[in-house]
């Protein structure tokens, strides 16, 4: 129960973080570009993480399944966070 609660809270925190990025992007065109660059870096890192999942799992000392779950969860956070911000 508590494990689910803390995972859900961190997931919500990630969603809110991406909403906050969207809010930052909406403040100014330069901020928008900067956020786009940040999102591009995040996307590259996300893709590389998928390619190097075994090496990264050894580096982070977590299992490959946990790393893949983390990557999928972060992608879901991005979708939900930016989606909520853009739809509001």
């Amino acid at each position: 129960m508590m494990r689910a609660m803390y995972l859900a809270n961190y997931f919500i925190a990630g969603c809110i973080a991406f909403s906050l990025l969207g809010w930052v992007a909406s403040l100014h065109p330069y901020a928008f570009r900067a956020v786009l660059c940040l999102l591009a870096v995040i996307a590259i890192g996300w893709g590389l993480s998928w390619l190097l999942d075994f090496s990264l799992s050894k580096l982070l000392k977590i299992s490959v399944a946990d790393l893949q779950a983390l990557l999928i969860g972060s992608f879901a956070m991005l979708l939900i966070g930016l989606g909520v911000f853009l739809c509001s």
């Binding site: 508590m2 494990r3 609660m5 803390y6 809270n9 961190y10 919500i12 909403s19 909520v84």
Partner: protein, 196 residues
């Protein structure tokens, strides 16, 4: 702690969604309110996540403690069961040893009984021979005299007592002794007659 966790979780969700959905976008402070509420929501969510993680770790520790206690109890029960089994086995071995001893003692007792019976039989047979020898030694003459009386045709008890022991019929002690001795010698006399 859990109440704080639930309040922070709920407030983070509310602070995240409410300003985005319900705030009037025509206000000048709309963007500022959104930023503040999103920042506060992020802080609430992270704090709630930390609290939930601590509680989760404590729960895992408690679960490990419970497992350890259960394992200790099971181990203690198994140990006591093993000890009681060993004790029962030792008691059974002691009982078996005691029964073996009893059998040995009974065997010895039987041997002793058999020896005693043999000794008694031997003693009685020896005493019988001794009695015969005594009779032969002491009262041979009386038996021969009785046989001579029988040969002469004297068959009455009182007459034989008169001839052999020299006592007359009556209630005297000498007559009683002579009568008892005559009755005692009668079987030997009959044997002599049958044998002779």
């Amino acid at each position: 702690m859990q109440l704080k966790l639930f309040v922070l979780s709920a407030s983070s969700v509310v602070l995240w969604l409410a300003p985005l959905a319900t705030l009037d976008k025509t206000l000048d402070i709309h963007k500022a309110l959104q930023g503040v509420s999103l920042t506060a929501a992020f802080a609430c969510a992270v704090t709630a996540g930390n609290i939930a993680r601590k509680l989760s770790e404590q729960g895992e520790i408690e679960e490990i403690k419970t497992r350890a206690i259960t394992a200790d109890v099971v181990d203690e029960i198994a140990t006591s069961a093993y000890i009681s089994q060993v004790q029962r086995q030792q008691e059974a071995e002691q009982i078996l040893t005691a029964s073996d001893r009893t059998d040995e003692q009974e065997a010895e007792l039987d041997e002793i009984k058999q020896s005693l019976e043999l000794l008694i039989q031997k003693t009685s047979s020896d005493s019988g021979e001794l009695v015969l020898k005594t009779l032969t030694t002491r009262q041979q003459e009386q038996i021969e005299l009785i046989l001579q009386c029988h040969a002469k045709g004297i068959s009455g008890k009182n007459k034989i007592l008169k001839e052999v022991w020299g006592v007359s019929a009556g209630s005297s002690q000498a007559y009683r002794n002579a009568k008892a001795e005559y009755e005692y010698l009668m079987p030997f006399t009959k044997e002599e007659e049958e044998g002779g």
